[in-house]
């Protein structure tokens, strides 16, 4: 066998080179490219005035006003739609003013007939649902059409309760049409009268004062019938309204983008009212507003922005980080980040933040955070003394101050009864003399002993329903600890919101944690929570049913603000405090941090159509 001359150099095989070199090259390329692109991105932003707003949710459920119920639905749809009335932007306390109307509705003497005049030259957005794609003018029929949609069950309306029992013939219409094969919108309703395209009347069954507030609620926003019929079910994701912004796109789970409506009717930024003749402020906080430059854009045509990006956040950390990176124009301060931005004790924004030009704005909410009992529960419900004492004892054991401190940086307002600060009937004093505000353990123990359960012995476990999410679990644990101090044992049921609703609806939850945000700035909205006929599955989750209370509620419902009404409010409040179907209460103050470049932002959660007033540099 021949031998061959030996070879020393070794060339790599194709396979080898393929693996060894491509791997490396690909890796370098991927990472390199990524960094390159990543660095370029920061400069690539669109032109025009853009506001970056945020919401702490994965997104609204719907943009159809009648289907909406949450604050998020409200905020997202009110960009596009408009209501007949709205609240004056800068004025406090909030005051109703006409939006789509030329003036506030004129109300007849008996308070039952409302007359309206619509603004002219208000056009719907240009949209393919209209002939030629040009938005048509808003007419009176649209208003009634929109109200009737709230009665149509096939729309899954969330706000029927707002109109129930109030407009003449509307309840009968509701029954009749929902039982019929098809919902007939053309069928007239006795209480809804169209005079001409711009004039109409509503006849109420009783002089409900809250009716005006309802007309400022987003559920009653005016929608064009063409769009509803054109888009069908898709209408919930294709809003067409009269608002200052048009819906551009919805990236599910990320953001909704709105752009300026070029055909927006002539609406102007509020004029500077100037000081009163006596040198006093026209409204509290006027001088501050002035100082913050809120009147610099006075008289300018709205909206001031070209685009609004409403971004969604489920986790609070990214939202906060984005604000810090100036990728969001403002943020509400998560309780957990409060100390980072504020000196906790004084609630003053820290130097580093104010140096950046970040402005802080505390905004008290019409907020009611409470624990509730099911008054029909065998062990903890009932109106007899024993059960009342048990509830009062439990109420006395709960230490709201500690909760406030641990979870809310001591920034909440603790008050007695269901009426939040800023509304008639809110107790002025630190505590009502007869309140059962915790923590007063000696008294709690006494009451418990009086009820026959000294030291909690023999008392069944209190099953406590609270929804998962946020820091509810921790709060529940804290309350459990509080109650353990007087010997009341607690069984925490940490459930998702659906299960909680279900438990409340079926009156299965003996004890629960809930919160109520006022739909409109009137304590009537809070007091209806205890009205007997509204028992579960309606809003009265307590199933509180006291004839005396019910009678008073029926009275205040049709009263306009007056000292007499306030007195009644107070009586009702005190009844609730004494019977203790509810343990409470706490009202939050929302802290806003606002970047310097965001102009005209006066945070509020009473209404949400303020993005049209915003401006950026």
């Amino acid at each position: 066998m021949p031998r061959y001359s030996r070879k020393t150099d070794q060339r790599p095989s194709p396979w080898e080179s393929l693996v060894a070199y491509t791997t490396l090259r690909a890796l370098v390329a991927v990472v390199g490219l990524a960094f390159l692109v990543g660095c370029d991105r920061a400069t690539a932003t669109g032109s025009g005035k853009v506001a970056h707003l945020s919401m702490a949710t994965a997104g609204p459920n719907t943009l159809d006003p009648v289907q909406g119920s949450t604050q998020y639905d409200n905020r997202a749809s009110i960009m596009v739609y408009q209501t007949l009335l709205h609240y004056e932007y800068l004025k406090r306390p909030v005051t109703l003013s006409p939006l789509l109307l030329t003036q506030l509705p004129t109300i007849s003497e008996d308070g039952k007939v409302y007359r309206f005049e619509l603004k002219r030259n208000v056009f719907f957005h240009d949209d393919p649902c209209f002939p030629d794609g040009k938005g048509r003018e808003l007419v009176a029929a649209d208003v009634f059409y929109s109200l009737k949609r709230m009665a149509d069950e096939s729309n899954l309306p969330k706000g029927w309760w707002l109109l129930k029992d109030s407009i003449e013939g509307f309840d009968a219409y509701y029954e009749q049409q929902n039982d019929a094969d098809e919902f007939d919108y053309d069928m007239p309703v006795a209480g809804m009268k169209v005079m001409d395209d711009h004039h109409f009347e509503v006849h109420l069954t009783e002089p409900f004062y809250r009716f005006s507030y309802v007309l400022a609620m987003f559920q009653t926003a005016v929608v064009p019938r063409e769009a509803v019929e054109f888009y069908g079910k898709k209408f919930a994701r294709h809003p067409v309204g009269t608002g200052p912004f048009r819906f551009k796109r919805w990236d599910t789970g990320i953001q909704i983008v709105y752009e300026k409506n070029p055909n927006y009717w002539e609406e102007y930024y509020p004029e500077d009212p100037g000081l009163e003749e006596d040198g006093s402020e026209p409204y509290p906080g006027y001088l501050k507003d002035k100082k913050l430059g809120f009147y610099e854009d006075a008289g300018k045509r709205l909206p001031l922005l070209d685009r609004v990006e409403l971004e969604f956040f489920v986790q609070s950390q990214p939202k906060w980080l984005k604000f810090r990176n100036r990728e969001l124009d403002y943020t509400t301060v998560p309780a957990e980040n409060f100390e980072e931005a504020y000196v906790k004790r004084t609630a003053q924004v820290r130097q580093a933040f104010s140096d950046e030009g970040i402005r802080s704005h505390p905004e008290p909410l019409l907020d009611l955070i409470y624990y509730g009992f099911n008054m029909e529960d065998r062990d903890f419900g009932g109106y007899d003394d024993t059960h009342k004492w048990i509830r009062q004892a439990i109420s006395l054991a709960i230490d709201w101050d500690e909760r406030n401190e641990a979870f809310y940086n001591d920034l909440c307002l603790i008050y007695d009864g269901p009426i939040p600060a800023g509304l008639d009937g809110h107790p002025d004093a630190h505590a009502l003399p007869h309140a059962y505000r915790g923590a007063d353990l000696p008294r709690a123990r006494q009451l418990l002993a009086k009820a026959g359960y000294p030291g909690g012995k023999g008392l069944p476990k209190l099953v406590f329903f609270t929804s998962r999410g946020g820091r509810n679990a921790e709060m529940a644990e804290m309350s459990k600890r509080h109650l353990a101090r007087i010997g009341v044992r607690v069984d925490i049921r940490l459930v998702d919101f659906a299960t909680l609703s279900d438990a409340l609806r079926n009156r299965r939850a003996p004890f629960f944690a809930l919160a109520w945000g006022s739909d409109y700035p009137d304590a009537e909205n809070n007091l209806q929570l205890f009205y007997g006929p509204y028992k579960s599955p309606s809003s009265n989750s307590f199933n509180y049913d006291q004839p005396e209370y019910n009678a008073m509620y029926e009275r205040i419902r049709v009263m306009s603000p007056s000292p007499e009404r306030t007195r009644l409010y107070e009586q009702m409040r005190d009844m609730v405090v004494e019977d203790a179907p509810m343990i409470g209460s706490m009202g939050r103050t929302r802290y806003y941090l606002i970047h310097k470049h965001l102009k005209n932002f006066k945070p509020t959660e009473a209404f949400f159509n303020w993005p049209k007033y915003l401006n950026v540099n």
Binding site: M1, Y4, S5, R6, K7, T8, Q10, R11, S13
Partner: protein
């Protein structure tokens, strides 16, 4: 034997392993020579260190847990392979020294064709171009009696039978024309009929190309069939070395003798008779006795055997035995 210069000279090869029970010496002071064209048989029972010997020559033992004693020498054409560079080893492996393994079923890479695997070896060691390599590889396949070599060239190992695969392994070993072939139990896994094929093939190749062969086996029949000289190993040591005729005719070490006797012999005379056996067990490498390693099993065991280890006698260059009392019968 003509006194040609040895091709391979192993001197005092001592190899150890690091194990979880501590270091252990697998082979100790193994010395032998191989001349060109010669077949040296290394015989012994399992665990005696014969495979370690061949793998040390090729330096194929895992470096992390084995070590070659620094005094050991493996002189191949004068180069000491025991402590040479890995790069030098690479140019020698497969080129001047080639190896055949026991398991033809697993020794070939299953995902490459026969041709690719032959080609690879040629590519490393010869300056031939692609076409030449292919032709040469096919020629090699033919020379190991593989039918339809052109077709086989493109096939994968699993498409071949065991005997055929072993022939491919041999072709792989021989394709660069090595001077020394290490065959580590090349026929153990094969049936007798295939063993016969492989043995005659090796014999033929040796005659044709004057390649020296170190044949490792436990089968004395195979040794008797083709070897020139024999090294008998026991428990990591060489106990006897001799040319094949004299070893079989006059074994001097008691172990060699017993080993030879324990093979069943053909013919009616031996039918169903009791076989002579070696009692006891091979000592564990971890618990080697202090004296002669065979002492426990040896019928001739003496005090001296227990006391001191016997060294390999130097009766002649061709005949060595590690025993105080070598058997001397004719």
């Amino acid at each position: 034997m003509p006194s040609v210069a040895p091709l391979l000279e192993v001197k005092d090869l001592t190899v150890g392993f690091r194990t979880d029970r501590g270091d252990v010496t697998a082979i100790e002071d193994v010395s032998f020579q191989v001349r060109p064209g010669e077949i040296l048989g290394i015989v012994g029972e399992s665990g005696c260190g014969k495979s370690v010997t061949s793998r040390s020559i090729m330096r194929l033992l895992p470096e992390q847990n084995s070590f070659i004693d620094h005094r050991s020498e493996i002189l191949f054409n004068g180069v000491n392979l025991a402590h040479t560079d890995e790069s030098v080893m690479r140019s020698i492996r497969g080129n001047r020294i080639a190896m055949i393994f026991q398991e033809p079923m697993t020794a070939l890479n299953p995902v490459f064709t026969i041709g690719w695997q032959l080609d690879e070896a040629l590519k490393y060691h010869t300056p031939m171009n692609k076409l030449q390599r292919r032709e040469h590889a096919i020629e090699m396949l033919r020379s190991v009696d593989i039918p339809h070599p052109r077709q086989r060239y493109c096939e994968y190992p699993h498409q071949l039978s065991g005997g055929m695969r072993q022939r491919v392994v041999i072709a792989l070993a021989l394709c660069c024309g090595p001077e020394l072939l290490l065959a580590d139990e090349p026929t153990t896994a094969l049936d007798v009929t295939i063993q016969a094929q492989i043995l005659s093939l090796m014999d033929e190749l040796r005659k044709k190309s004057d390649t020296a062969v170190v044949l490792i086996t436990h089968d004395l029949g195979v040794i008797a069939q083709i070897c020139d000289r024999v090294v008998v190993m026991y428990a990591g040591q060489i106990v006897e070395t001799a040319d094949v005729e004299s070893l079989f005719a006059r074994p001097q070490h008691p172990y060699t003798k017993a080993l030879l006797e324990s093979i069943p012999l053909p013919g009616p005379a031996h039918h169903q008779t009791r076989l002579p056996t070696i009692d006891g067990l091979v000592p564990s490498l971890f618990e080697l006795p202090s004296g002669c390693r065979f002492q426990d099993r040896c019928p001739y065991q003496d005090e001296q055997c227990v006391r001191e280890p016997p060294s390999l006698s130097q009766e002649s260059n061709l005949r060595k035995v590690r025993c105080f009392f070598p058997i001397n019968e004719s």
